[in-house]
């Protein structure tokens, strides 16, 4: 599959949007991990904006930044939102409520518990009827999400924004499903005129683990702490603007990606 990248962004510890992350991933600026600042989404009405949790804020910020960079309106882009944990804090709160007899579940918590909540808020915020899909693929949400988003882009011949994001889960679930950091990234993919964007990706699936294995030094240490951070080698290849091959392991087999800058 050959697909163009028209927009990219990333948010995580020491990574605050593409302009700054570009310098870190090129080695022009030291990586200094710190708290991740997530402003309330401008696009939401005041009540939803105030109530929005970290996961929703992260997903909406990434989707909007990547679309803006690509110069595309939300109504022109199909959405693929890939998250392993979804709103883990909301899930923990509901599960805690259910564990006491006659525990009341908050109605707002409940309707926000659907995995497509962030994707839904994105369309609500922009009043857009564009289709969005929410995926959950455990440790492989970025790679499987990319494979899905690229195929949708090729088949529909429409730009697709892939938003991959995850956050630590509090409470007992978080003790067994450990996510260390909050991290997310977004790519705007376009099959038309692929060579006019930032880079062209040639993707193929292979059996067994992929090569090269990602390094784990510095910022790449984030890879093991959040499923979305498995995107870092691809993001670095995009930042450096060099021909490079990266591999993303999947649930079975791997996705091999040749990155060619435009």
């Amino acid at each position: 599959m050959r697909i163009g990248v028209r927009g990219v962004t990333v948010r995580g510890p020491g990574l605050s949007g593409w302009a700054q992350a570009l310098r870190v991933l090129r080695g022009e600026e030291d990586w200094v991990p710190g708290p991740v600042h997530l402003p309330p989404p401008d696009c939401l009405p005041p009540n939803e904006r105030r109530r929005s949790g970290a996961v929703t804020r992260l997903a909406l910020l990434l989707a909007d930044e990547a679309c803006a960079q690509a110069g595309l309106a939300v109504s022109d882009v199909r959405g693929v939102f890939a998250s392993s944990n979804g709103d883990g804090a909301g899930m923990d709160d509901i599960l805690a409520s259910l564990s006491v007899p006659d525990g009341e579940v908050s109605p707002t918590r409940f309707h926000n518990s659907v995995h497509n909540a962030a994707a839904g808020y994105w369309t609500i915020g922009h009043g857009a009827i564009t289709p969005v899909v929410a995926l959950g693929c455990f440790d492989w949400s970025f790679g499987h999400g990319l494979l899905k988003a690229a195929a949708e882009c090729l088949v529909e011949r429409k730009p697709v924004v892939l938003v991959a994001y995850d956050a630590p889960i509090p409470g007992p679930i978080g003790r067994v499903r450990v996510t260390k950091d909050i991290f997310g990234c977004a790519l705007v993919l376009d099959a038309e005129d692929a060579a006019s964007g930032l880079a062209v990706l040639d993707m193929s699936c292979g059996v067994g683990p992929g090569e090269p294995e990602a390094e784990r030094q510095g910022v790449y240490g984030l890879i093991d702490g959040n499923p979305a951070a498995k995107a870092l080698p691809l993001l670095a290849a995009l930042a450096r603007g060099q021909n490079r091959r990266v591999a993303l392991d999947g649930a079975s087999g791997h996705l091999s990606i040749e990155v060619r800058p435009c």
């Binding site: 564990s99 579940v105 309707h111």
Partner: protein
């Protein structure tokens, strides 16, 4: 779009274990709903599948054992589906058969049980809680792939109550992009405290059996179920038999509200019109619309408006949730199989439990079964987050 073929299918819900039981329930208009007696909740009715508690899993990692995967397994082992997948696997190769499934809550019941047994000092759930293989959304496709010995790409779609309908669309992308030759498409959702109490907190649980499209409808009955189809390119495998054809789809968002449908039905109308366009069909080519028809005031009114806008009053439409309850993310695949049965057996299922249809409705709502051989059926699914999916199936 170029139609894809469904070459095998299976379904388990409160309306029946397998296609044979299901078709009897549909024809005899026997609801599977019973008084709620689940997870400490006694209000309302549920569509509970008998036998899950006794159903054991074999040939997979025991960590997969949970209500949702058991339900999925009951469907996989019904209707000759397992053997059909084995034939496709032998023909195409295990790595060329993908698994694309929808679920809204996966094995969340296992997490509820784990929270009830958390060590109060350490704050740890019990060691027996295998989060990755039960509660996690990806547990479902991983389990199904493991049970069927498939090595193609896996996907879990979680678009609330449109999950397993939307899974068809995402399966098509992988097929058309050449990443696989066949896809196991479907989904499962199972009873749990979260959805029973959550929908109750929103005031959406009917105190009596759900009665979609009735003038006095007052909410949903929650159900559980699982269903799967094998989706392939037509003519790619000479031995395959065609159960039905998948002709078109439309997907959209409401862009309106998290849990209330857009009363103007802008997104729903768009999804239905797009489905017709993909199938290159006119509204008059559709013989029946299987409504999402949850039984809430807002959903059914919105859907009537949308169906009337697209079809006028010329096409019979009905909800089958009076049989199964609202099986949430599994409703799309379950109603897909119901559509297949109606096209095979020559009948249209009318809404169950309806005394007086809502007099404000303008579409052609069926409240009794009709003997008629449908050639094309549209099946709708809508969900929280404002997500819409319309699918069109054609007779074999």
């Amino acid at each position: 779009m170029k139609p894809l073929v469904v070459t095998s299918g299976t379904v388990v819900s409160a309306a029946g274990h397998g296609l044979a039981q299901t078709v009897l329930s549909l024809k005899e208009r026997r609801s599977g709903l019973t008084g709620c007696d689940f997870a400490g909740v006694t209000e309302g009715f549920i569509g509970r599948v008998p036998g899950i508690e006794q159903h054991g899993l074999t040939a997979v990692n025991p960590g997969f054992d949970c209500r949702n995967n058991r339900l999925a397994d009951m469907a996989l082992m019904s209707d000759g589906f397992f053997d059909a997948v084995m034939q496709a696997r032998a023909f195409y190769g295990a790595d060329r058969v993908a698994v694309v499934l929808g679920t809204s809550t996966s094995g969340i019941l296992s997490a509820e049980e784990a929270y009830a047994a958390v060590d109060p000092v350490a704050g740890m759930p019990p060691d027996s809680f295998d989060q990755a293989r039960t509660q996690d959304l990806f547990a479902l496709p991983r389990f199904v792939a493991s049970r069927l010995g498939l090595e193609g790409p896996l996907l879990c779609v979680s678009n609330a109550c449109a999950s397993s309908s939307r899974a068809f669309v995402d399966a098509r992308y992988w097929l058309e992009a050449g990443l696989c030759d066949a896809v196991v498409v479907g989904g499962a959702d199972s009873l749990c405290g979260m959805t029973l109490r959550g929908f109750a907190s929103l005031g959406l649980i009917a105190p009596d059996m759900t009665r979609p499209c009735d003038a006095r409808r007052n909410g949903i009955s929650i159900g559980e179920g699982a269903g799967f189809v094998l989706l392939e390119r037509e003519g790619a495998r000479p031995d395959a038999t065609v159960m039905m054809r998948w002709l078109g789809y439309g997907v959209s968002s409401d862009g309106h509200h998290m849990s209330s449908p857009d009363p103007q039905a802008r997104g729903a109308i768009h999804a239905m019109r797009d489905a017709l366009a993909h199938a290159a069909l006119e509204p008059s080519d559709i013989d029946y619309v299987n409504l999402h028809g949850t039984g809430t005031l807002a959903n059914d009114a919105m859907e009537d408006r949308a169906v009337h806008a697209v079809f006028g009053d010329g096409v019979p439409c009905a909800s089958t949730k009076g049989w199964t309850g609202h099986t949430l993310g599994a409703s799309g695949i379950i109603e897909t199989l119901f559509s297949a049965l109606m096209m095979r057996e020559g009948f249209l299922a009318g809404c169950l439990n309806v005394g007086t249809p809502d007099p404000a409705f303008r579409s052609h709502v069926l409240t009794a079964n009709l003997e008629r051989m449908p050639k094309a059926i549209m099946s709708n699914a809508f969900g929280f987050g404002g997500t819409n999916c319309s699918l069109i199936f054609g007779a074999a």
